[in-house]
Subunit: 338 residues, 2 copies
DNA sequence: TTGTAAGCGTTATCAA
DNA sequence: TTGATAACGCTTACAA
């Protein structure tokens, strides 16, 4: 059996509180006994039991993670899982554990907030969520520090990529290629990013005096390949084909391209396509996908940094958005106008 | 502030222990007071604090997860993240939380075992790991119930797909297509599955009197696309081309195919290729990849089921392997011999 | 600088 | 069937 704090206190002829202070680097202790204790602690491999610590202190060193709120997309989504991965590594470095928040625990159904309460989490990461979910709203408006890498709402700090910049870059690039007939294909507007990018698209097209109609902005009915596929086929049927399509998700872009192909339209020779995200596979797709890279590693780290900051500072909650830059990765699905 | 167990005991003129018994469904209580308590508990939304429970009881209702043991592959790997996802859902149903095990927590570096001890986990899931990692070995040989969905070693129960069946199915299929010149490309042999599949390949080829040499089994130097790519190019240079290649990972198979393509060899017209895993993208690759499907959802669920079983039964640890069936998904990277 | 003692919120063991 | 009471292992005022 491992020694407990009382054991090592007894062994050293000191009191448990002294040990505690030394181990936690708190209070004033003579460097003499500090060293003596530290040495012995190392020898015994003494480690404080997590639950006892949490029970008797305010901090739990635990961060709850809301992930699969939208059941349509789970852990397998490479975009979000990379954010999570990088977040986890960052906070671990500062001593935090990461626990998945679930809403049904055994027989009782818990709200996210209830779960956070019984676990006494120090903070919450919303990797992705649904702004209409009452559970999410409740958590965001609670006293728990929260950070989001997806949704944006009042009282919430979000770390997201700059969608306006992304859209601008894409259109810039399209123009440099010599195109003016540009379309946008977006995913379900219930997702914030899909929604705002169409707004920005319209704004920028107007600013640049590029013609477009509402028919040039198509919303898919889902997040996957097949949704893109049927949209690709629809586009192929238009009398007036676009020169370039900006698709707001790589996965959907794959579908659009294949849908186009199925109607004998070649990418990039007939139409150029730009994706969004730069997930791992885009490099290996045929044609390799030109796309807007969102740096998921940076998102995770930045979210972690901001969350830890607000845990330590305990500031009042307000809405805040931290924008991260995006970059265009040029590959083979786009081609200069000839 | 939420009520604690003493509060609701006082309110109801009962003792905390009685409340505890009722909430935990333990001990004998008159159905009269049971109902009264349950009603009031629901009203107040009383929920027991997790840490206090863990401290005073044996169980933590927590399962530790070892994931990124091999730093080369992280959460973004769709194969493993899906297993994790399905595992998590299963155990949540039985009241278990899932925490990521990390080896550096703040300033001190912990072994996996130490981490499990301070967290008092009830069991451990090894989603993927390295059998040579002393941390893993220590955990597996400890008293903690463990389950693995990847590695196989003494004292460990593993839930994995039947690699022998997979290889057999692949060769069966190749023969049905009319081929006998079959190669295998495998990933680094440090990964169990990559290793055993080559063993099974040799065994089956012999059994069927199919000719092959050691040159027909190629090991890549990595897990990714590019490793496959260079192998694909190497194969293209052979004087005696194979008719079909079994590649033990979809991702590597993508690379092999593109490497072949780069040397003007078409798949499937010149050579057929079978992958392994059936990750999400294989359907959308060009050509759509014929592959051996490993049912990750089932793996996660089965692993969860087996782990909970051994948590509850506390049997002595022995090596055990639960094999799950695989199936071949026929797509466009393979073609009948003409 | 160190020690005492009272919590933290449950569960578990006995008694009643 | 219910209730005292002692753990569980640590932190933290406060006292010495």
């Amino acid at each position: 059996m491992n020694k407990k704090i009382v054991d090592i206190a007894r062994d050293l002829n000191l009191s448990p509180s002294t040990i505690s202070k030394i181990v936690n680097n708190t209070g004033r202790i003579s460097s003499e006994t500090r060293e003596r204790v530290l040495k012995y602690v190392k020898e015994c491999g003494y480690l404080a039991m997590s639950n006892a610590r949490i029970l008797s202190s305010k901090k739990s060193w635990t961060i709850g993670v809301i992930y699969s709120d939208i059941s349509l997309i789970g852990f397998e989504h490479p975009f979000f899982s990379r954010i999570f991965q990088s977040f986890k590594e960052y906070v671990a470095h500062y001593g935090y554990d990461v626990v998945m928040i679930v809403s049904k625990l055994g027989s009782n159904v818990l709200t996210y907030l209830e779960w956070c309460q019984i676990k006494k989490v120090d903070g919450i990461l919303i990797v992705m969520g649904n702004i209409n979910n009452p559970n999410i709203i409740e958590v965001v408006n609670s006293d728990y520090p929260c950070i989001s890498t997806d949704i944006v709402m009042p009282n919430l700090h979000s770390v997201i990529c700059d969608d306006y910049q992304g859209v601008k870059i894409a259109i810039d690039y399209a123009q440099n290629l010599g195109f003016s007939k540009i379309m946008m294909v977006t995913g379900p507007k219930t997702a914030r990013s899909f929604y705002v990018r169409t707004e920005f698209f319209e704004k920028e097209m107007k600013l640049r005096n590029l013609k477009y109609t509402q028919d040039d902005i198509i919303t898919t009915d889902g997040f996957g390949f097949s949704s893109g596929y049927s949209v690709g086929q629809d586009i192929a049927k238009k009398e007036n084909l676009p020169e370039l399509i900006i698709v707001n998700s790589d996965v959907i872009a794959y579908g659009v391209i294949r849908g186009l192909n199925s109607m004998n339209i070649d990418v990039p020779n007939d139409i150029s396509v730009i994706g969004y995200d730069d997930i791992e596979f885009s490099e290996n797709f045929t044609p390799a996908l030109t796309t807007i890279l969102q740096d998921t590693k940076m998102m995770g780290e930045r979210a972690a940094e901001e969350l830890l900051k607000s845990i330590n500072l305990k500031l009042p909650k307000t809405q805040k958005i931290t924008y991260l830059p995006v970059t265009l990765i040029e590959r083979e699905s786009t081609k200069k106008k000839i």
